[in-house]
Symmetry: C2
Subunit: 222 residues, 2 copies
Amino acid sequence: MNQYIQPSTTTASSRIYDILRKDLVNGRFAAGEKLAINALKELYQVGLSPLREALNKLAAYGLLIQENQRGFRVPTLSRSELDDIVKTRLALEGMAFEQAISLGDAAWEANLLAAEHRLKCADMTLDNDDEWERLHTQFHRTLVASCGSIWSLRFIEQLHDQFDRYRRLGPKMPVIRQELDQQHHELVALALKRDVKAARKLLDEHILKSYEAALTCFAQHG
Amino acid sequence: MNQYIQPSTTTASSRIYDILRKDLVNGRFAAGEKLAINALKELYQVGLSPLREALNKLAAYGLLIQENQRGFRVPTLSRSELDDIVKTRLALEGMAFEQAISLGDAAWEANLLAAEHRLKCADMTLDNDDEWERLHTQFHRTLVASCGSIWSLRFIEQLHDQFDRYRRLGPKMPVIRQELDQQHHELVALALKRDVKAARKLLDEHILKSYEAALTCFAQHG
DNA sequence: ATAAGTGATAAAATCGATTATTTTTCAGGA
DNA sequence: TCCTGAAAAATAATCGATTTTATCACTTAT
């Protein structure tokens, strides 16, 4: 494992960080909203110091905006930023996937099959969205895990969180969702066949299709 | 300006963040070293709360490693990580530069010429390394500034900081330095000519040459 | 009617002290 | 001599209170 991953025993600060990160990605707070620190303190039943440390980390990570003497705000959403996120994902994730296919060993293949299977199982049980989201994130992480670039993986994860802020706002789209699920399967198949070209092409399509889905969040909301 | 930039009035936390970030990039603390928070408190004459907030942000940014209940450490340096940083820079910065040349307007051209000129002036006065570093960073930031992708710019800046941790450890190399300075001038010339292909090629060479210089930090140290 | 000032209120940032955890030290036993 | 584990010391994390800064409602002057 690499030195940039944190765990070991857990602190109030890291716990609240994980929770807030998830809540921010899930759109629990409105875009542009100012976070009232004292309210958060009550809401999450946590002290001021660990809370502020978590908020500071989230701001450095890009899930919050920090303005000196004015606390923290949720970043606004815009079509142009979504476009940027998607373009950057296409480039970074595409390269990483190609590398991952070239470099991936048997353990990676096994992880990939396992991640796909777990995701498929979660697809069946229609409730428990949270769990599906977790497995979906894990699946995409596994796709590129063997690319060999710690920094690319880091950036890709950050972009996924940003992208998901948009995607999870939109309405459920069973048709698109089904197509995306189908692509998950095909991505694994192409990856295992080491068909770099075709896999890359399909990943691009996959990202663009989910972009399509994410775009609908503007139709509904602002 | 974009919402991810912070300024306005300044707090103890943001002040100490800027200082620590610079000191970390400059190698003031040894790689792998554990930071004694109380010592930092004395050293920078700052309270515990703002200091911890700054450290948390730096950890999220990648200039520190945070381990629960064990405080903060300076990330170690390794050949393989440097390779990763350089490869990722080549990809991200290369794309961004191509875009920047395509999209840059007259204001960008003016900024570019200004940044180059300031850097050249700093080249003359051999003392004041800090100022040169600042202008050098600013020059490279300007090169890609008009690429249109907030997220790429963000990642590129992060990678520059990481790269500079290595570069600034090595010995001064006047010959390579002179070649790099020459390339700065040529990069501007090609960018203004909108010669995307040649500019991209030169930027790649530029990054690889500074990689060469950064590599020497391993010859000296570990 | 608008703009600039003023005081009250709310909120953010910071401090000093306390609590929890890790690390070190050292005595006792194999 | 080398473990082992308990006590002591050091350090990280957190809390509660204080200070500083922004915000809002209101007054006064242009």
